[in-house]
Amino acid sequence: MSDEKVVKVSGVGKRFRLRPGGTRTLKSAVLGWMGGGKSHELWALRDVNFSVARGETLGIIGANGAGKSTLLALLTGTMEPTEGSISVAGSVSSLLELGAGFHPDLTGRENVFLYGAIMGLSRAQMRERFDAIVDFAGLSDFIDQPVKHYSSGMYVRLGFAVAVEVNPEVLLIDEVLAVGDVPFQKKCMDRMTEFRQQGKTMLVVSHDLSVIQKMSDRIMLLDEGRVTGLGDPGDVIGSYRASAGQRAAQSMEKEWGTGQVKITGVEFRDEAGNTVDSFECGGTLSARISYEASQKIDDPVFGFALADSAGNTLYGSNTQLEGVDIAAIEGTGSLMLNLSDLYLAAGSYLFSFSVHSADHKTNYHRLDNAFGIACRTDKNAAGSCCFPCSWDTTGT
């Protein structure tokens, strides 16, 4: 990686005008001119600034509709920014949609040459690469068949093979790994690793956070068209998971109870006592729960539950179960919940807190799924837990 910036994006914004009723007809246009039809504006991107150095891989993450695909379209040059400027040094090949631009009636061979010509390669250059493309796609028997007879897997394989073989200076990849079977995905991953080693500049969009974390040198987080994070993959993904967790929490959040005691706030801290909402797997989490009791309450029980982002409870406990007696509370106060060895897999999680009577008959205040936290780990294991594990292979 060098200091030379291959991609420079400064102050970029992209505005779309959304028309009610879909496609434009003469009637809607005339109404529009007369001021009758209303179209509203949507800024798909706003104030986007970043640059990518030669040989760097930048991952781009964000929720659906955050502006990721618009950004790639601007970089490819199919759309122009409404404001700001974009400069890309050298040729750009995009794996935006594998096999985009293939014509169903043309054969694989003809489509390969068409794609090469679109990328600006001469026929001679394409002829040199042709065998490698067919070989990589594994389609030597079918290359002279019209691509409409291809299976979707064959289509995608040919698309990927062409896009990487045109050997662009900048490669844009949009959610490519979501397609194809497992061996092909592995082949693609290997090829992308090779690309990184060769010092190619790549911009990758993916929803698969663990894959993108491994591949990228830096990650950019987009939220509603704005850059809300840019930097170390672990940090950005951690905060993205936390905010995604909070969003999930909002939809599953439920607050209820009689209100004699109110939980007024919860603050999460790490080992060092810093207020955070993203934790290392195996770390320690402390939650300070503040409450306010409008009258004297005897034998209150404070409880918590931890759920995954889908709302499935993973663990829950309370002061009664842990043998902690609270004789009575009145007025404001706080207590601390400590969870050590937080062996959670990477992802976002939801906390619920409650305060109820010792006989569980009266719920003073419950905040279900109200607090989102995130966990981060490099280990890409299955499930919600992430126990430390080791293997003894002396008997093999």
């Binding site: 779309f16 496609t23 434009r24 007809t25 003469l26 009637k27 246009a29 379209a73 490819t76 040059g77 199919t78 759309m79 122009e80 750009v92 995009s94 935006l96 949609e97 985009a100 631009g101 293939f102 014509h103 009636d105 043309l106 003809e110 040459f113 068409l114 010509a117 679109i118 990328m119 600006g120 390669l121 001469s122 026929r123 019209p146």
Partner: protein, 262 residues
């Protein structure tokens, strides 16, 4: 405009591949394939010859059939371009949305493919004219006429393909428009029919329709038809190149919004 020309020159590989694609796809899946390029004008000549003689269309012109067929072949080139241009951008939405290249190559490739088709058809037409012992004159002007004809077709292709991206009514308007244009152009009647109805000082107005001068010029060349005068034909030729200029301006101005609109 110069940079546009340079862009296209640099991407001529793409242009040829797209031209070849357009030609291939037209005859893909048909048993006779490419022979249709030669067969359809042949059938057209046969059908018109039969019906023109049955219906006694000749209106006193002994070479009316040749006159009619030249007009129809010329009109056909424009018709094909207008029809294809509806799909030039909208039918390539995948390419336009996902890849970057000078967009003008798409309508250009469409028009060049139709030009090749037109030239091959003309081979049949010229053979027919030779068989009918028609006397040619001024063949030196033919390249200029074909080039102007091409400019008009490209210009119209640019306008229609652009408009169809933004207004879905284009297709319907085009159907009505071409029909009116067909009757306004001297395809199956002689230009004198129009000129007789106009005061002499307004004769030039008939040639504001670029197709009028183009058809007249072809007939002067290919069958020594009486010329309406060079000045009149020049009016139509200037109009044809103006259509191309307008088409290019419109297309280049709006092409940056294609990816969003598709």
């Amino acid at each position: 405009m110069i940079s546009l020309f340079k862009d296209v020159c640099e991407r001529r590989e793409l242009l040829w591949i797209l031209v070849a694609r357009n030609l291939k796809i037209r005859y893909k899946n048909s048993a006779l394939g490419f022979f249709w390029t030669l067969l359809s004008p042949l059938f057209m000549i046969l059908i018109y010859a039969t019906f023109a003689s049955i219906l006694k269309w000749n209106s006193g012109k002994p070479d009316y059939l040749q006159f009619l067929i030249i007009g129809l072949v010329i009109w056909q080139f424009l018709m094909m371009c207008l029809g294809d241009s509806l799909n030039t951008i909208t039918g390539s939405s995948n390419l336009v949305k996902k890849t970057a290249f000078p967009r003008v190559i798409l309508p250009l490739a469409m028009t060049v493919a139709n030009l090749i088709n037109f030239l091959l058809t003309s081979v049949i037409l010229v053979l027919y004219l030779i068989i009918m012992r028609i006397s040619f004159s001024n063949l030196g002007w033919l390249p200029v006429i074909v080039l102007t004809h091409f400019a008009l077709c490209l210009g119209m292709g640019l306008i229609v393909s652009t408009t169809n991206v933004f207004f879905k009514d284009t297709e319907h308007l085009l159907g009505v428009g071409t029909l009116a244009w067909f009757f306004l152009s001297p395809v199956f009647y002689s230009i004198s029919l129009q000129l007789d109805r106009l005061p002499d000082s307004l004769d030039w107005a008939a040639f504001l329709n670029p197709m009028t001068g183009i058809i007249c010029a072809y007939r002067v060349c290919l069958m020594s038809d009486t010329s309406p005068g060079r000045g009149m034909i020049a009016v139509s030729f200037v109009m044809a190149w103006l259509v191309l200029a307008l088409g290019l301006l419109l297309f280049q101005h709006l092409q940056r919004r294609f990816a969003e609109e598709l």
